[in-house]
């Protein structure tokens, strides 16, 4: 086994080119996916702080744990502000039960690409509920009492 790089084999190049042609025929990137990728740019958020996804029970919980029945838990953080979410699945719809901690929330809105944001009430303990979202990427826009806006990272739910 030498680590040196050999010139690409012409037969291999031809085989890959053939596979590329077959893929273009049998499994092209759907137009819808291309459009979604382009329009992602329009969802750029320049005036808000980003709360990163720091925990996801779908990934962080050991695989031995029984899945399916338990709701998925997502945690987002920006500084001392945390947004905790519990996702419940109903076929292709999703409900989010959430709580904003570490700051006083003035309002929460859920955003999915290509649709108007859904604003939901927040109680005095920062709890909120978003119902009947389509499965797929979602982010939460949280308006804090001090005027700051925090948006969560996109998460496919």
């Amino acid at each position: 086994m030498s680590g040196q790089q050999q010139p690409p084999d012409p037969g291999d190049e031809a085989l890959l080119a053939r596979l590329r042609r077959i893929a273009a025929e049998a499994d092209p990137v759907p137009e819808m996916v291309i459009q979604a990728a382009r329009s992602a740019f329009g969802l750029r958020e320049l005036d808000a702080e980003l709360a990163e996804l720091v925990r996801d029970s779908a990934v962080d919980v050991p695989a031995t744990t029984v899945r399916g029945a338990a709701p998925r838990l997502l945690s987002f953080e920006f500084g001392d502000v945390a947004v905790e979410c519990e996702i419940t699945e109903r076929a292709l719809r999703r409900d989010i039960l959430g709580q904003l901690v570490g700051a006083n929330a003035a309002g929460v809105a859920a955003e999915v690409p290509g649709a108007a944001a859904v604003t939901v009430p927040v109680d005095e303990r920062g709890r909120f509920s978003v119902r009947d979202l389509p499965a797929g990427p979602v982010r939460l826009r949280c308006r804090l009492a001090d005027g700051t806006t925090v948006v969560t990272s996109w998460a496919a739910v």
């Binding site: 086994m1 680590g3 040196q4 790089q5 050999q6 690409p8 084999d9 012409p10 037969g11 291999d12 031809a14 085989l15 890959l16 053939r18 596979l19 590329r20 077959i22 893929a23 273009a24 025929e25 049998a26 499994d27 990137v29 759907p30 819808m32 996916v33 291309i34 979604a36 990728a37 382009r38 992602a40 740019f41 329009g42 969802l43 750029r44 958020e45 980003l50 996801d56 779908a58 990934v59 695989a63 899945r67 399916g68 998925r72 690409p113 499965a135 797929g136 990427p137 982010r139 990272s153 996109w154 998460a155 496919a156």
Partner: protein, 199 residues
Amino acid sequence: MEATTRQLLATASAGDQRAWDALVERYNSLLWSVARSHRLSTPDAADVVQTTWLRLVEHLDSIADPDRLPGWLATTARRECLRLLRHAGREVQSYTALIDVPDDAPGLDAGLLRDERDAALWHALATLDEFCQQLIRVLMADPPPSYAEASAILGIPIGSVGPSRGRCLSKLRRVAGISGAAGDSVISRGPDRAADSAS
């Protein structure tokens, strides 16, 4: 002259949709390949690719090393794939066991192909081990990634991209019953399960 990824990132970061579209044009096929190589359905693969681009939009101003963008994108997509697979309760470790099951894995729909030999080759690709399937699908992306990009995407040393490529394509030829291609006879034929540690 074609803009570099670094230039496109900088221009997109300054708010230019066309630069963004050029990035999409350059890497969307790669992301689709990554999603498909995890045997995701069309809606799942679409979610993975869309979420990956949305994540890039979020981090447009904080990509530390633009040269590693393909690796960043592919890693983000792969993480989303694994999350979906695990959440769906599909055991990722036993991936290779799925191979013999008659599957409806979309994107592997050989029925769409008019040419029988193409269909056989496409089907053969779906029967390879996880590592080879991912490697070949990544290298198949249009435009194809460089070895440096493939190395970052697959998480393997750059020096092993070439040899792995030769080994996996050789395996594919064997499964598909293609013979006589140049270089086949000089490539060593290691045990088929050698690369199963990839997950």
